[in-house]
Amino acid sequence: MTQNRPWIPYLLILPSVAFLALLFVVPLVQTIWLAVSDNGVPSLANAERMVTDINFTRSVKNTFLLTIVVVPVQIAIALAMGTMVAKVGRGRETILWIWTIPLGISDLAAGLVWLSILQNTGYFNSLLFSLGVIGRQASWLSYQTPVALFIAIAVAEIWRGTAIVMVIIVAGLNQVPKEFKEAAEIFGAGPWTRFWRITLPLIRPALQSALILRTVLAFEVFAVVYALGGRNFPVLVGEAYNWQNQNQNYSVAAAYAVLIMIISLAATLIYLKALKVDPERLP
């Protein structure tokens, strides 16, 4: 039927394409133009203003540090969770469901949850006090305790963002037929060898997807940081937000946005290259 009317598929696709073009491509082009122009002429003034700002180096450093710490921990935890749940027979669905609860919590809410735990009058201090570890309220989230603040943010991020990695990895593990592990076991591979030499290579595509997704999201970290540390822990998106709202300078905010985009694209490219998935070697 559609052979006589070849335009039908296009017609059906049109609304979604138009929607994306309107709400994604146009703002993207506008943002890029905003970032690299000054009063309507191409200019690097915004970029210069961005990099010379006192918070710029710190925000770049913090964002990268957070990504480098959080993403590997999340992958490791997700792998551990995935392999553990694979051994479970009954109740598997329930365990997975509980583990994915953080997925349903917005990042700001997650930040507030951890704030209620870690603030001066929070649950953590109450616990330490009742155990006699501290004599009076300790502060964890102030600019005087940068290490504690960093750890708190990292823990909150790990808590919030591991579920999505786990979902991808569990899906990947489900794709690996158990015969491969069994064959390895017969031929003398112990649990670690099986994990490193059989399981890990076989879930490479899932691992790659999880890494790309999580890393891109990690570079966009904001709400959790904002809830826990405010401006004590500057990150890239936070700076964009400040330039936009506090300083009302949309151009420098746009420059930050473009920078984040470039970093994300570069990270994606690196993963695609480094973890190249050779279709020939898939099951």
């Binding site: 076991e185 017969i186 031929f187 003398g188 070697r281």
Partner: protein, 352 residues
């Protein structure tokens, strides 16, 4: 010593009994085939021996040591999986080398063993390739090579040649037999293919519905099946079963009287191999109505009935019998198996 003793193994999946008290003893260096229809529990039994599945009850001993509590890698055996399980992310070379690498063999030995196994299975041209690019039969041979490369004491093979063409299968099976025999490997070989089982095995175990119906030398199983199932499953055409009346401990076959075992009822089942007959004039011979006569070149296949029960017999190609004829047959009394009509089990051979 690597004899295998399978002692009253049971396996249930929920309410379903896949294995119902299977006992088997396989001697050191012996080649035993497990033969049986699809779903009878052959793979399940192998997986229990390998330690990939836990049995519901029973024991498995190798070299008189119970291995039932050991993890697979401590059982000292190799296995060829029914669906190959060749690692897709390793080259054929690394696949074949896998077991040796796990044993931390040095490179020289790995190379020598891989080349030997690959040569035997004619997979040298593919050593640098990935399994995904190989045909099913090629992958299957990689799986066999991987198992042979470690020179196991005990080798479990689950239909290892099922995907090869007839010619290659014949060649591989002869080579396998030679290698395993000279290495003295104790082998359990699962197959659907009865000619393969007959040709390769020291003994055949015929399985049916989770039970070993009979274990014995191929010729013994062929000539004296322990049950009706075994007689019907082995041989082409299958054994004929004719229910006949017994009077005074004898069964009339035309003019001839055949002695039955002692203490049978009024009826007995006569198990007759299609080729254990020769043409005889009527009325001395046993009457057979021929429905279809098929000249096969090497022999003549007759389908018809005796005592109104369906039979298939084989005569020399030189005989001239046509569809629709009624003929007389003389039965070779030494090759008759008597079976109980109730239990379907055979009586011990009657000594003439």
């Amino acid at each position: 010593m690597a004899n295998i003793v399978i002692d009253r193994i049971r396996k249930s999946f929920g309410a379903f009994q896949a294995l119902k008290e299977v006992s088997l003893t396989i001697n050191d260096g012996e080649f035993v085939s497990l033969l049986g229809p699809s779903g009878c529990g052959k793979t399940t039994l192998l997986r229990i021996i390998a330690g990939l599945e836990t049995s519901t009850s029973g024991d498995v001993r190798i070299g008189d040591r119970s291995i039932i509590g050991l993890v697979p890698k401590d059982r000292g055996l190799a296995m060829v999986f029914q669906n190959y399980a060749v690692f897709p992310h390793m080259t054929v070379y690394e696949n074949v080398a896998f077991g040796l690498r796990m044993q931390k063999a040095d490179d020289a030995r790995v190379k020598a063993q891989v080349e030997k196994a690959a040569g035997l299975l004619h997979i040298e041209p593919y050593l640098d390739r990935y399994p995904n690019k190989l045909s099913g039969g090629q992958r299957q041979r990689v799986a066999v090579a991987r198992a042979l490369a470690v020179e196991p004491k005990v080798l479990l093979m689950d239909e290892p040649l099922s995907n090869l063409d007839a010619l290659l299968r014949l060649e591989m099976r002869t080579e396998l037999k030679t290698v395993l025999q000279s290495a003295g490997t104790t082998t359990i070989y699962v197959t659907h293919d009865q000619t393969e089982a007959m040709g390769l095995s020291d003994r055949i175990a015929v399985m049916h519905n989770g039970v070993v119906e009979q274990i014995g030398h191929p010729v013994e199983i062929y000539n004296h099946p322990a049950t009706r199932f075994v007689g019907g499953f082995i041989g082409n055409p299958p054994m004929n079963f004719i229910k006949v009346p017994v009077s005074n401990g004898q069964v009339a076959a035309g003019a001839e009287q055949l002695a039955t075992p002692k203490d049978v009822g009024n009826e007995i089942v006569l198990g007759l191999r299609g080729e254990a007959v020769e043409l005889a004039p009527l009325p001395q011979g046993l009457e057979m109505k021929v429905r279809v006569a098929e000249p096969m070149g090497s022999h003549l296949l007759l389908t018809g009935s005796i005592h109104d029960q369906p039979v298939r017999v084989i005569l020399p190609a030189s005989e001239t019998v046509k569809s629709g004829d009624t003929i007389g047959l003389k039965l070779d009394s030494k090759r008759i198996t008597w079976l109980s009509p109730e239990s379907g089990k055979s009586f011990p051979a009657v000594l003439a």
